[in-house]
């Protein structure tokens, strides 16, 4: 099983010399299992180059794209995903079901007037959408099992796990930790007081979400986790929906995961600053039995 990092940046693509090493394209990760279908997590701008590679392979291809949530940085690459424009391909999108809207409508809106010169009517591939109930899973191909779990991020995000032949990867983004507040519909204009007590029903929901995520990550070989913030940044803006390394480590160590990948890098964080952040994290957890490494655009991690 191989994990290929096509886009590792959060919020907005960041071109330029200061982000060359870690990369400036937004979230897109591919999982190569050795069998069909092609598995992709999210479609930030990183999906563009992946799409060029896939399109060069010809048709027909079966591609499954697991969308964590529809914030721009996770879907903005779609209009540039060449396989959508090749007939013969079959592309399936997965997302968490919401009653008020469906992913198909959202994606169609993304790719239409006035935002973009083409529309979904220009797609030639056979495209379908699977809306998942909370915590749903599926066998997406013989022996290829997908599971999901709700994350703590505005308008709700989904984490996904893929198991195949005894190997497993979990994609956990975007998420705040499960400590202080549930992020859903409401806009929170100011950082809440983190020392204030949490209402019992909120605390219970957070505990359930966290346990479900721990269950999802249990025994996983690799966990790719939204660790956009430093600890200080989280404390300043806990309502922004992202985690720091300590939150990821707490879940991953409890779950007995093997390897944590630091992911969804802040747009303003330069390569040198990322180096220092990684050094600090690795030093802090050097006595913990867990591999920790950074997501880097262009990197491949092999799981054997």
């Amino acid at each position: 099983m191989k994990v290929l990092f096509w886009g590792v940046r959060g919020s907005i693509p960041v071109p330029g010399p200061l982000t060359q090493r870690y990369g400036g394209n937004t979230s897109c990760i591919q999982l190569e299992t050795g069998v069909q279908p092609v598995i992709i997590f999210d479609s930030g701008t990183g999906i563009r180059r992946l799409g060029q590679l896939l399109a060069a392979r010809g048709t027909p291809q079966e591609i499954h794209i697991f969308i964590s949530h529809a914030h721009w940085d996770h879907i903005q690459g779609l209009p540039f995903f060449d396989p959508l424009y090749q007939s013969g391909n079959r592309i399936t999108f997965y997302s968490r079901k919401r009653d008020e809207f469906c992913l198909r409508d959202i994606i169609h809106k993304v790719i239409e007037d006035p935002y973009f010169p083409l529309s979904h009517e220009d797609w030639k591939a056979d495209v379908n959408f699977v809306e998942l109930e909370d915590g749903a899973g599926a066998e997406i191909a013989p022996g290829l099992i997908m599971r999901s779990s709700r994350l703590n991020h505005p308008l709700i995000a989904n984490a996904y796990r893929i198991d195949h032949q005894g190997r497993s990867v979990v994609y956990v983004t975007d998420t705040a930790p499960f400590d202080h507040m549930v992020l859903d519909r409401d806009f929170i204009p100011k950082a809440p007081d983190l020392s204030a007590p949490v209402a019992p029903e909120v605390a219970e929901l957070l505990a359930v979400m966290r346990q479900n995520l721990v269950d999802l990550c249990t025994g996983a070989d690799l966990v790719i986790y939204d660790t956009m913030f430093t600890e200080e940044e989280y404390n300043r803006n806990p309502h922004w929906g992202h985690s720091a390394a300590s939150h990821a480590m707490s879940v991953c160590t409890q779950a007995g995961a093997g390897h944590l990948v630091i992911f969804h890098h802040a747009p303003e964080r330069t390569d040198d600053q990322m180096d220092r952040m990684m050094e600090g994290i690795i030093e802090q957890y050097k006595d913990v039995d867990m591999t920790i490494s950074p997501a880097i655009e262009g990197r491949t991690i092999e799981i054997d």
Binding site: P13, T19, Q20, G24, T45, F101, V110, F116, P117
Partner: protein
Amino acid sequence: MQITFWGVRALVPSPGQETTVTGGNTLCITVRGVAGETLVVDAGTGITTWGRSILSGDYGRGQGELDLFITHPHYDHIQGFPFFVPAFIPGNTIRLYGSTYCKRTMEQVLESQMNPIFSPIQSLKNLNSNLLFPDVKPGDTLSIGGLAVQLETLPHVTEQAMGVRVREGGKTVVMAPDVNYPEGVVPPEALAFFRDADLLVHDIRSFVPGLERLHSREAFNARDAVAAAAAAHVKKLVLTHFHFDSTDRELEQLRESLGYDHPFEIELAREGSTLWL
């Protein structure tokens, strides 16, 4: 006048080693007058770089004012706005122009880009600065301090886009960063708008229909831009709106292929560069 390019790419930002010289951010141009007046054309991701660079001045203190002209509501012209830090600082005033070219208003276009589904900001109302949407029409003129601004409609495939002409003293810059001529013929209204400009900033693309708009790099040949510049007797042509896959090397070769025996200078816009008039 200082004209600075903060983003020169079409359609989608293109990070990577091969685009670092020309730049990978999407469209944004700033014009600064001698008295410090500030005018911005387009809010692609380049506006986020500019936004951070001005925080040490009035815009960081909530005492800034600026006029932002969105030539067309395609993403590469608006995607940077939710990340434009001065828009979050109370006290700043931002006037946004461009409604004529949206099927709805500019305010509605920007608001739905910030829809809670797509953006954690959720709404323009959550930006703390003072946003205004003055009603302007093609042909209107307005003054920003000592900058005389004229707006015009230019063809843009099947829709239309805004051109912005700015004069300070005896010098004129015309910005047409997203314009295509469907028959390959530059209409007389466009030529009149470009006429005698000291600097014409023009879309490098010639018209290409349908899917090829995304994939065809042949359209990025500068033919129409050079023809327009020649017919309008401009003094200098700066090409912009490069395909996201065009590498720095390919763009250099393209510039070479245009030759040097034109009656005006031709340059490629480069992210981070400033031209003075």
